[in-house]
């Protein structure tokens, strides 16, 4: 049930829309970049054999 926002409907819905859009954007960008870097690292590790580690696993 949608609350009665009366004459402030545009204000309240606008504020929530901006917030949810910005949150969705930062989450999507962060996840996409994480997946891209993980994929590239897996490719390079497969090529060099992953023998020379500097301590951190690529996973």
């Amino acid at each position: 049930m949608m609350p009665d926002l009366a004459r402030y409907a545009g204000t309240v819905l606008g504020a929530y829309a901006v917030t949810l859009a910005l949150i969705a954007l930062i989450v999507a960008v962060s996840w996409e970049r994480a997946a891209r870097v993980r994929r590239r690292l897996a490719e390079v590790e497969a090529r060099v054999g992953g023998r020379r580690g500097d301590g951190q696993a690529g996973t």
Binding site: A6, T11, Y16, L22, A34, V37, E45
Partner: protein, 242 residues
């Protein structure tokens, strides 16, 4: 168990792998639940009407905008003192999240201000210090991108972080000592007479917890990406050398 073991990239990756799904689940639960509670189940305010519902996004975003910078300050100090790369990478990872929170606080504040104050913007102490904080976030992110040598970039951005901390603190405390602005004083207080009504307070607490968890989850994801990127560059350099 020493706190410094987390500064080992392998240990950091090992510990955060099982933690992340739990953190994301809690983030969804608290953020979704808190926002739904605030939006659908709270009454109008006697003065502000339905615009009081903006409280549940504006206040947690502003809280995280300031605290993200303070987290970056702590991480930068750890980098300066102990030279742990994970702390520098965590500070770098937090900056875009903090900038997003600052932008949310500025945008929702402007949208809220228009019907309440009759203007989208005023050069009020708190608004101005928040705007300068946003510019510091952009400058900090740009500096990381502009400097090729990672340790030098970490040093320079740590200095920017130290300077910007003045504005992070100013944006929090400006209303206390600089009282000529439009922005109201703090709505949240340990004194029950000064605090917002319970009907707004409890959903706000849930929303604040949700925003904190969102920040932590995003920073962990982004820090793990920075660690992987560092290893990727090291391996690519190794490969290039043959």
């Amino acid at each position: 168990m020493s706190l410094w073991r987390y500064s080992n990239p392998a240990e950091f990756m090992r510990l955060t792998t099982p933690a992340l799904p739990v953190l994301w689940a809690l983030t969804g639960l608290l953020l979704g639940g808190g926002l739904a509670w605030g939006f659908f189940l709270t009454p109008d305010d006697y003065q502000q009407g339905a615009t009081v519902k903006i409280l549940f996004i504006h206040v947690p975003a502003a809280l995280m905008a300031i605290n993200a910078w303070l987290m970056m300050l702590v991480a930068s100090l750890v980098w300066f003192i102990r030279r742990h790369h994970v702390s520098a990478l965590a500070a770098r990872a937090a900056a875009p999240v903090g900038a997003t929170m600052t932008l949310i606080a500025l945008a929702t504040g402007a949208i809220w201000g228009q019907p309440m104050w009759g203007t989208w913007w005023a050069w009020d102490p708190r608004l101005t210090s928040f705007f300068v904080l946003f510019l510091f976030y952009l400058g900090y992110i740009a500096l990381w991108e502009a400097v090729d040598e990672p340790d030098k970039a970490a040093d320079l951005t740590a200095i920017v972080c130290l300077v910007g901390s003045v504005f992070a603190l100013l944006s929090r405390y400006a209303v206390f000592f600089w009282s000529q602005g439009l922005h109201q004083g703090p709505s949240l207080s340990l004194d029950a007479r000064e605090n917002v009504s319970d009907v707004f307070w409890w959903p706000l607490v849930v929303c604040m917890a949700g925003f904190v968890l969102l920040f932590v989850s995003l920073v962990l994801v982004r820090t793990r990406t920075e660690i992987r990127l560092r290893r990727l560059r090291a391996l690519e350099a190794l490969e290039a050398r043959g």
